[in-house]
C-alpha cells in the first residue's frame, strides 16, 4: 500500500449559472474547506489548482490565482490541466507532495465559469489540433460521442431509452436533496422523453449541462491529522490517473478515429476499466467492498457504462443493475448519491474534486438527506478529453 492521506476539509461553492468569475467560486470553496478543516490558510504549505478549460485547453491559471486571492503567504504552488480529470490530477499532485514529505497540508482547488452551450474549440485555423479538427471536419460536438456510445450500448447490450431515462430520474431525485446541486428538482421519465433529441438517441435531459461551480479539499499527512486532532479522518487511499494503452480501440474524445489494432493486438482491459483497475490495485480493495460510487455521467448512458467499467456488474448488465435498484439510494451500491453531473452540470476543473467532496461527506456520515447508510468505502470515476481519466478511492 502506498499510504493514506487525510481529508481534513471539503468545501464547495454551489453549482449554477451565477455569471461571476471562477476566482470567486474557487475562493469561496477554498474558504469553506479551510473552515471545515479548522486550518488557517497561512498554515497551508502547498496549493494545487486545477486550471479552467477554454476551447479544450487550459484557460486561466488556477494555483497562483487562488493563492493570490486568499492572500499570498508563500506556499508552494502548482497548477495542473487534464481536461475533465484536472481536479483529480490536482488531488494526485497534492497526495504525492504529502506522501513524499514535501508538504504537510495542501489545499486543492478547482473552479470554473462555464461558457454557454456546446463546448467549442479554440479559435483560429488549428489544423494541428485534434479538438479543432473534429469540429471543423465533422461538426462532432461532445454529445456526438455520447450519442455514439449510447447507440452502441443499445445495439450490443439491449439498453433502452427507458433505461437511460431511469438514470436521469434517479440522479435528479438525489440532486433534489443536495444544496450544492444546480438542478434541485425531481424529473420524470415522461419529462426526459419529452425533451428534444440532441444527438440521437440522446435527449437534452440525457446530457449534462455546463455549469459554474467551485470545489476544494484540504489534504494532509496522517501524522498532521493526528496532531491536528482528527483521529479518524476520511482517507484517500488511491488516485488513479493512468493513460490508455496502445492500441486504444474505443473511439475517444476528441478523436476522429481509434488506434489500429492491425499491428498490435489489444491486451488487458479497455481504457475506462483500466482507470478503475489501477485505483483498486493501489487501494488494495475490490468492487465488492464499495459502499458508494460517484461516476462521470456526462450522459445517462455513460453512467451505465461506468457500472461495468468499475466492475459493479458484468459487461452488458448495467441496465439490469439499474432496473433492480442496486444503484439507487438504499440499494447495494448507490451511484451518484450527490445527484451526479445530471444534477450539477459540469464545471470541468471542479468536478472531480466535487466527487471527492461527496465521498468525504458520505464517509463522515454527514450527507444529510442523501446519506448512504454505513458508508465506509467510496470510489469516483471520471474521463475527459485527450486520454485523461481518473479514479479516487476514499475510505473511513
Amino acid at each position: 500500500m502506498t499510504g493514506d492521506v487525510a481529508v481534513l476539509g471539503a468545501g464547495m461553492h454551489p453549482w449554477g449559472k451565477w455569471g461571476r468569475s471562477f476566482v470567486e467560486y474557487g475562493t469561496a470553496a477554498a474558504r469553506a474547506a479551510l473552515a471545515d478543516a479548522g486550518v488557517d490558510w497561512r498554515d497551508v504549505g502547498s496549493v494545487v489548482g486545477a486550471d479552467t478549460v477554454r476551447g479544450g485547453y487550459p484557460g486561466y491559471v488556477a494555483g497562483a490565482t487562488f493563492a493570490k486571492a486568499l492572500g499570498w503567504q508563500g506556499a508552494r504552488v502548482t497548477s495542473v490541466y487534464a481536461a475533465c480529470a484536472s481536479g483529480a490530477q490536482a488531488i494526485g499532485t497534492a497526495r504525492a507532495q504529502i506522501l513524499s514529505g514535501l508538504a504537510d497540508v495542501v489545499l486543492v482547488v478547482g473552479a470554473d465559469a462555464a461558457p454557454k452551450g456546446f463546448f467549442r474549440p479554440a479559435g483560429g485555423d488549428r489544423q494541428d489540433d485534434p479538438d479543432w479538427l473534429r469540429f471543423r471536419v465533422l461538426g462532432a460536438t461532445n454529445p456526438t460521442y455520447f450519442g455514439l456510445y449510447a447507440r452502441r450500448r443499445m445495439a450490443t447490450h439491449g439498453d433502452t431509452l427507458a433505461d437511460f431515462a431511469r438514470v436521469k430520474v434517479k440522479n435528479a431525485a438525489s440532486g433534489a436533496l443536495n444544496p450544492n446541486a444546480r438542478y434541485r428538482k425531481a424529473v420524470s421519465a415522461e419529462e426526459v422523453a419529452a425533451s428534444a433529441v440532441v444527438a440521437d438517441p440522446l435527449r437534452l435531459l440525457d446530457i449534462c449541462a455546463t455549469s459554474d461551480g467551485g470545489a476544494a479539499l484540504v489534504l494532509s499527512s496522517m501524522e498532521f491529522a493526528r496532531r491536528h486532532g482528527a483521529a479518524d479522518p476520511v482517507r484517500i487511499r488511491a488516485v488513479s490517473t493512468v493513460t490508455p494503452t496502445y492500441p486504444n480501440t474505443v473511439l475517444d474524445l476528441p478523436d476522429i478515429a481509434t488506434d489500429s489494432a492491425a499491428g498490435v493486438r489489444p491486451e488487458g482491459p479497455a481504457f475506462r476499466s483500466s482507470i478503475a483497475l489501477a485505483a483498486y490495485e493501489e487501494a488494495g480493495i475490490g468492487p465488492d467492498e464499495l459502499s458508494l460510487a460517484e461516476v462521470y455521467d456526462l450522459s445517462t448512458a455513460l453512467e451505465l457504462q461506468w457500472y461495468e467499467d468499475l466492475g459493479l456488474c458484468a459487461e452488458g448488465e448495467a441496465a439490469k443493475l439499474l432496473r433492480d435498484g442496486a444503484t439507487a439510494p438504499g440499494g447495494r451500491i448507490p451511484v451518484n448519491a450527490s445527484g451526479g453531473l445530471a444534477s450539477f452540470g459540469e464545471a470541468v476543473p471542479a468536478q472531480a474534486i466535487a466527487q471527492v467532496c461527496e465521498l468525504t461527506w458520505q464517509l463522515r456520515g454527514t450527507a444529510g438527506a442523501r446519506q448512504v447508510a454505513g458508508a465506509r468505502v467510496g470510489i469516483t470515476a471520471n474521463q475527459g478529453l485527450f486520454g485523461h481519466g481518473s479514479s479516487v478511492v476514499a475510505v473511513r
Binding site: G117, F118, R120, P121, G123, D125, Q127, P130, W132, L133, R134, F135, R136, V137, L138, G139, A140, T141, P143, T144, G147, L148, Y149, A150, R151, R152, A155, T156, A196, V197, V198, A199, D200, P201, L202, Y246, P247, T249, L251, I256, A257, T258, D259, S260, A261, A262, G263, V264
Partner: protein
C-alpha cells in the same frame, strides 16, 4: 465559374467517384495503420519505428455506431447561418483490415432510421460546406459514409 473545390484537410483522402479513398499511413515495421495519418513516427510503444508509407484505407466497413447532429455545431464548423439547420448523421465505421474505427458524416439524405450497428457502409466523396459566393468561394470537400446497396 464555380466554387473552388478544396479538401477540408489536405492529404486525408484522394480520388473521385468509385476510386475515392481515405488515406492513412502504415508502419513498415509493425503494420500499425494511422488515421488521421501519422507522418512523423509510429505510435506503437513496442515498435522500434519503421517507415510510414501512405496507404488507402478500405472503402467499406461496418457501422460501429451512429448518431446525428440535431443542432448546429459551433464554429469552426462551416454552415450557412441564414438557412434553417438541417440535421446530418455521424457514423463510426469499423474497418476490418485496418482494425480501426473511423468517424465520418453520413451522406446527404442518410437518416438515423436508415442505419443499424453492423450494417455495411462505403466511403464516398462529399461536400462539407461552402464559403463565399459562386464565383470566388470555396466548396470544402470531405468523406461521407453511406449504406451499401443504396443507389447513387
Amino acid at each position: 465559374m464555380a466554387r473552388t473545390r478544396t479538401p477540408v484537410v489536405a492529404d486525408w483522402f484522394t480520388g473521385e467517384g468509385a476510386d475515392f479513398r481515405l488515406l492513412g499511413t502504415r508502419c513498415s515495421a509493425c503494420s500499425s495503420v494511422f488515421f488521421p495519418r501519422e507522418d512523423g513516427w509510429c505510435r506503437n510503444p513496442g515498435c522500434a519505428g519503421g517507415d510510414l508509407a501512405e496507404v488507402p484505407l478500405s472503402p467499406r466497413g461496418r457501422v460501429w455506431s451512429y448518431t446525428d447532429a440535431r443542432y448546429r455545431p459551433p464554429e469552426p464548423y462551416v454552415s450557412d447561418r441564414e438557412l434553417p439547420w438541417q440535421p446530418y448523421t455521424l457514423i463510426a465505421v469499423e474497418l476490418a483490415a485496418e482494425r480501426l474505427v473511423v468517424l465520418g458524416q453520413g451522406a446527404p439524405g442518410v437518416r438515423v432510421d436508415d442505419l443499424a450497428v453492423g450494417m455495411e457502409v462505403e466511403v464516398l466523396p462529399g461536400v462539407l460546406g461552402e464559403d463565399g459566393d459562386e464565383e470566388t468561394g470555396t466548396a470544402w470537400t470531405t468523406w461521407h459514409w453511406r449504406p451499401t446497396g443504396v443507389a447513387a
